[in-house]
């Protein structure tokens, strides 16, 4: 339309508000987790033992690193280093894929052991263990979905950057995608100890 209004701070603030809604979305599952943990601490430890701590730790490192690369990408664009910015975005997307592939192997192993929501095996392991794995699958699943969305978003932003649509003058889109990606990381920062490290 006629007079274009531009408000980068407003755009970022809007993104933060959106991130709040994401936090609340996950918090629903964390509430269920917290209540179940306080009810079945023993069973939760038992369930947690059956998760693969190595894959979990690797994924933690992967996500932390991807968080770094996307943060660096924002600095790069601010300093008008477009090539570096593109590389960093690329690395982030690759790390997102690594995370998902890793998750795929982890889940297939667990499912092949007969552990999945509603399975007979789970039912036999008792109420607390069932609750643990149900929540694990739904929380990690929702998180995985966010990894997928965040990764795609960064891919799109990288293309826009390459096309010159995102510049050192105008990079809110990149910044906001980075914010989203950091949120994905933040969720994992809590998810990891709560599901893998409860002993």
């Amino acid at each position: 339309m006629s007079i274009e209004h531009r408000d980068d701070t407003g755009d970022r603030f809007g993104m933060w508000l959106f991130l709040y809604t994401e936090v609340i979305l996950f918090s629903g599952l964390f509430i269920l987790y917290a209540v179940s943990l306080s009810r079945f601490p023993g069973d939760f430890a038992q369930g947690s033992h059956q998760l693969n701590i190595y894959l979990g730790s690797i994924n933690t490192i992967v996500l932390l690193t991807s968080s770094l690369t996307i943060a660096l990408a924002v600095s790069a664009i601010q300093m008008n280093r477009i090539r570096q910015c593109l590389t960093l975005c690329g690395v982030t997307v690759v790390l997102a894929l690594v995370f998902l592939v890793n998750k795929y192997f982890e889940w297939s192993a667990e499912i092949s052991h007969g552990i999945y929501p509603g399975s007979q095996h789970l039912a036999e392991m008792g109420a607390g263990v069932s609750a643990f794995f149900n929540l694990y699958y739904f929380t990690a699943g929702l998180h995985g979905l966010h990894v997928l969305i965040g990764g795609s978003l960064i891919g799109v932003v990288a293309v826009l950057t390459a096309r010159g649509k995102i510049t050192s003058e105008r990079y809110t889109l990149l910044e906001n995608s980075a914010l989203f990606w950091h949120l994905v990381d933040l969720v994992w920062i809590f998810l990891f100890p709560l599901y893998y490290l409860i002993l």
């Binding site: 701070t9 933060w16 770094l68 924002v74 600095s75 933040l186 409860i198």
Partner: protein
């Protein structure tokens, strides 16, 4: 409507934060091997909170943003605490 432009954060800062994050991850895994009873959960949550504040304030530039952003975060955390805490008022005393 004051425009608020950020200074680019130097790469070095981010890398230092990253190293700190990895170190904290190592710590939290290590601590989880020690049996502390219910304390384990609280330690894990404490470390996670520390890690997330690093991400929030540095990676997410919260340090550079105006007061409004921090106020918003505070509101979120208060609400979150209410949601979780008040649910426990029921489940713990049932």
């Amino acid at each position: 409507m004051s425009e608020h432009k950020h200074e680019p954060v130097p790469y070095r800062t981010f890398i230092l934060i990253w190293i700190a994050l990895l170190a904290l991850t190592a710590i939290t895994i290590a601590v989880s091997r020690v049996h502390l009873g219910p304390l384990n959960v609280w330690v894990a949550l404490g470390v996670a909170t520390l890690k997330s504040s690093l991400v929030l304030f540095f990676f997410m530039h919260l340090k550079q943003e105006t007061r409004l952003f921090r106020l918003g975060l505070l509101v979120l955390l208060v609400i979150l605490a209410i949601f979780i805490g008040m649910t426990f008022i029921d489940t713990l005393y049932r």
